[in-house]
Amino acid sequence: MLEVSDLHKRFGEQVALRGVGFSVPKGECYGLLGPNGAGKSTTISILSALLPPDSGRVVVAGHDLATEPLACKRAIGVVPQELALYNDLTAEANLLFWGRLYGVPNAAVRERAGELLRLFGLADRRHHRVGTYSGGMKRRINIAAALLHRPQVLLMDEPTVGIDPQSRNLIFEVVEQLHADGLTIIYTTHYMEEAERLCDRIGIIDTGRIVAQGTLAELKDASRLTGTVDVTYAGEPAQVLEQAASFWPHVHQEKGITHFLTPGGQGDLARILQGSTERGMDIRAVAVRDVDLETIFLHLTGKQLRD
């Protein structure tokens, strides 16, 4: 359904994309996971024909973006990161406008708008101006506006940024529903739990490159990590980190806890404790966790998602 190959993009001296490529079959939810500035939004902007790539190719539902941009746009629904709605119009009026802009006939767009308002739990407020909505409600309408023309591919650019837990859960449920209905979804996020919950496959993007991609299981296997050992030490954090790094190659610190990325399972725990004791480090607490997406990301990029 979506073929992306070797995308490059520069903004002046700054290189945003360095050969991004991935392929998404029909009905798959593909997560693009990366920290801010990794190239997620630039990739989405290129896929949605907002930005031309410097080189590379994008094919959407059989249409080459370079030669058939309007056909690609019709095949795609985009949920922009920022809210993009007319606050002075009602929710229904917004949906009708955006639907008509995509060429959906009047009767069909009315029916579809009603469907989506019900799906997103906003049917009873359809005649209220969007400006009176809460942030979460606006987010929901923002997503609904991308679905009016029944796109074949839905691009969602961090759709849950800055919303309340209730709205976030509702959005998750809607995305899962759309996924179950067979819609192809590209979902960018920097929240691990979203990618883990929603996506069939995940592409980890950093500094304009896809550094790894696959299912969560494939990523775990590829990382050769089994988990992390989280140790709380007494003493100056910087000094602790320096000492830990002297005997363990994959280590980092967050909120006073030192995380050791471990490829060797339980045997690693003994080696970490021994190394700490040999260096006179004062251990206060120890916890062992299985490998998760955050650990994999840290291992692959050397940085945390929310750095």
């Binding site: 949605s48 922009p80 993009a84 709605l85 002075d88 008509r100 802009l101």
Partner: protein
């Protein structure tokens, strides 16, 4: 495209502040200016002025008279054929024409009234009456300055004493030298007019208000309407920047419509609102101040449409060029006030120096005001080249600005989205 325009119109109607700026404030200002302009008919002062002169006498004396006029600091004589000059007055290109009628030289020699006439546009009555006053001294003194004073004075004395007693006539003749010396000295001091030598400049109205409209009212409504329209279309154009700021422009760009259509939609809605605003302002002036529009509706609609096109293009152009609301507000206030000042929105052009009147053509205000005067004052017929020229200038300005807006929209606004 139409859908985009309809959406903009809907947003406009729901925005009370825009409605207030578009309709209520202009009406209040028209009222204010209509009263203010009403007191200006007799005001003002003369400025250097290019005076078209038709010399129908074509004698050395009439030539000498023109040369003397040309020496006045306030005037530059522009020799012109009579029909060309009168046509210019009818079409508003000139305020008036000074005609030196045949027999001028004979009158100078015989001491008779000098046949000099100012034919003028009543819309420029204030300016022309000031001009007349500046011509009179030259006219009065011309017999003295051209060496025909003795004849002129003698004839004048004879006429003055024509019906008097014989003794008085004889005494006047005997005292001629004394009288002549007095008048000659008077001419040097600029008081020869007291003896009536040379006569007066006859004033004849060439363009009268066939509509019954008062010139001050036409000036007030045309000048104010265009200035206020410019301010309000800038607000409409700024909607483009609001869309960028609120993210909706990005979403519009994601839709399967050509990018230019987004701008065209904005232009259409700006045009519709502009036409509505101008129509409401004219209707208000007609109802409240008695502006006569009946019988001129077609011409008026054409001027409204052309003015709305040029003004809305200006608003959209500014929004496409600028990168923020603040930039638009700063730029627009400056440009609109300058255009309104030089274009005749704030005061009639004849109050301004000649060079200002020349650069007036750079403003939208000038062409629009001329268009309104063509219809409401000069009552030019639709196919008149002068009227069509004013409309064409507005359409040209609008088209150029729209073209530039499209260029800058693609370069600035789309990139920023």
């Amino acid at each position: 495209m139409l859908l985009l325009a309809l959406k903009d119109l809907r947003l406009f109607v729901q925005d009370r502040r825009s409605m207030l700026i578009t309709f209520a404030i202009p009406l209040a200002l028209i009222t204010l200016f209509a009263f203010a302009y009403g007191g200006m008919d007799g005001g003002g002062e003369s400025r250097p002025y290019a005076l078209p002169v038709s010399d129908l006498d074509a004698t050395p004396l009439s030539q000498a008279f023109m040369e003397q006029l040309d020496t006045l600091a306030a005037l530059t004589v522009v020799p012109m054929g009579l029909e060309q000059a009168r046509e210019g007055v009818r079409k508003g290109k000139q305020d008036c024409v000074l005609i030196i009628h045949p027999g001028f030289a004979d009158s100078v020699r015989s001491g008779g009234e000098l046949p000099v006439e100012l034919q003028y546009d009543e819309a420029q009555a204030t300016q022309v009456s000031m001009l007349q006053q500046s011509l009179v001294p030259t006219l009065i003194n011309f017999p003295f300055n051209s060496g025909h004073a003795r004849t002129a004075v003698g004839t004048r004395i004879d006429r003055m004493m024509e019906n008097g007693p014989v003794q008085e006539r004889l005494r006047a003749r005997m005292q001629f030298d004394t009288l002549y010396s007095t008048m000659e000295r008077g001419s040097e001091g600029g008081t020869a007019g007291a003896f009536g030598v040379g006569g007066e400049v006859k004033m004849t109205s060439l363009v009268k208000p066939a509509t019954g409209n008062r010139v001050v009212l036409v000036q007030a409504v045309a000048g104010t309407a265009i200035m206020m329209l410019l301010f309000s279309v800038v607000g409409i154009g700024m909607g483009l920047l609001d869309e960028r700021q609120e993210g909706t422009l990005k979403r519009l760009l994601l839709a399967p419509v050509p990018r230019a259509h987004i701008l065209f939609g904005k232009m259409i809605s700006a045009n519709v609102i502009s036409i509505a605003q101008l129509s409401v302002m004219l209707a208000f002036t007609s109802l409240v101040f008695g502006l006569q529009v009946r019988g001129h509706l077609t011409g008026l609609l054409l001027v409204i449409a052309a003015s709305a096109y040029a003004c809305s293009a200006f608003g959209v152009f500014l929004a496409a060029v600028a990168k923020s609301r603040q930039q638009v507000q700063g730029l627009s206030t400056l440009i609109i006030l300058v255009m309104s000042a030089i274009g005749g929105s704030m005061m009639p052009l004849f109050f301004m120096p000649a060079f200002m009147q020349k650069i007036a053509v750079l403003s939208v205000n000038y062409w629009a005001i001329q268009g309104f005067f063509d219809v409401l004052w000069r009552t030019l017929p639709l196919p008149d080249p002068g009227f069509l020229g004013h409309l064409a200038a507005l359409v040209l300005i609008g088209t150029v600005l729209n073209g530039l807006a499209l260029h800058f929209f693609r370069r600035n606004v789309v990139d920023a989205a």
